[in-house]
């Protein structure tokens, strides 16, 4: 019993990136075969937010074009494919972390900046990313990855825009990481 426990707790190295890529590709293929859609994450966040706003204030929802379309016909935005997918992601990520001994509370950052600063940047990063993701109708997994898998121009353009912009602005945030 004890030796099994120790086995699980010992940190394992990450999977070889190419093999991880093959695994991810198969998961994506599985999603296409099962439901005709690719993967996605930022959409799930949106549906959660819309549900919360609806729970807090029905009038606000009724008054706005954007929100009301999610409640049309008595639909509940929380009952959405993407929401359940991200729930699965939490579980899947946890299992992977558990069997690889990587479960840990931690703030990752470069030693050159302080923890609060890292967290502020993480927060802002989130704001920018999901805002941009909603604009481009998908994030790296939803638009870029799933789009590329079906060869759409949108997929490739979105991917190039994300990485191009990342490289462009990387210099400004280098202290954050290195």
């Amino acid at each position: 019993m004890i030796s099994i426990h120790l086995e699980i707790m010992r940190r394992k190295p990450y999977m070889n990136p190419y093999l991880a890529g093959v695994l991810l590709g198969l998961v994506l293929l599985g999603a296409m075969v099962i439901s005709g859609r690719g993967l996605g994450a930022s959409g799930g966040i949106k549906y959660c937010v819309v549900s919360i706003v609806g729970a807090v204030s029905q009038e606000h929802v009724a008054g706005a074009d954007y929100y009301s379309k999610y409640y049309q016909g008595g639909k509940k935005p929380i009952n959405n494919w993407l929401v359940f997918q991200i729930l699965g992601m939490v579980v899947g990520g946890f299992i992977s972390g558990a069997v690889s001994g990587r479960l840990t509370w931690k703030i990752e950052k470069s030693p050159k900046i302080s923890k609060p600063r890292r967290l502020i940047l993480a927060f802002l990063g989130g704001v920018f990313f999901v805002y941009g993701g909603q604009m481009a109708r998908g994030c790296t997994s939803g638009a870029a990855l799933s789009g590329m898998a079906v060869l759409t121009t949108a997929g490739f353009v979105t991917m190039i825009a994300i990485f191009g912009s990342g490289f462009l602005f990387a210099w400004f945030f280098r202290k954050n990481w290195i």
């Binding site: 070889n16 190419y18 093999l19 890529g21 093959v22």
Partner: protein, 204 residues
Amino acid sequence: MFSIRFQVSAILVLLSGLIILLPDARQSSGELNVPGMLEVMNESGQFLTVDQVARMVVYEDTSILLVDVRDTEAYRAVHIPGAINLPVSDILNPDWSGYLDDPVVRPVFYSNGNTMAGEAWMICTQKGYTGSYIMKGGMNEWYREVMESTFEGERITAADNATFEVRYRARKFFNRMNSTPDSLKTAFLEVKRKKEDDLVGGCE
């Protein structure tokens, strides 16, 4: 010892090269390739000539239903008598599926040329509604052959005679029907609208 990178790369390059040899996946309606499509259809007998259609119109053949897939304005201006108007942009509307899926009365699509009618045929065939036709050449051909052609030559054969006779009669019918006032034409349209439920008979 080959690195994993090399192995994975080699396998992917090999596979992607091999799939070039695989048969073409079924063409999606987004990739309509008109000339290639016309070729395929010619072989599989999906075309009716304007003369065949003229004959069916003149003898009021009820085994076909002419479907004008142009927009409503074009239809109202002029259409082949007996045709209903189903713009190709609306073709997947479930209200119309009854017409398109009818095994007894087959739809014959026509437009000004072959493109829109071909599109309509393509969409329906992929949806599983087989047995539809296209009037080859569309309204342009109809005008050229049925409405405006004249026999030029010294002696006419029996076959040609029959053809032209049908054409003349179709001409009269066409001109008469297309000069009816708009209000009558619209009533004609409304009456013909039916839903799929009506067609599926028997023990439900």
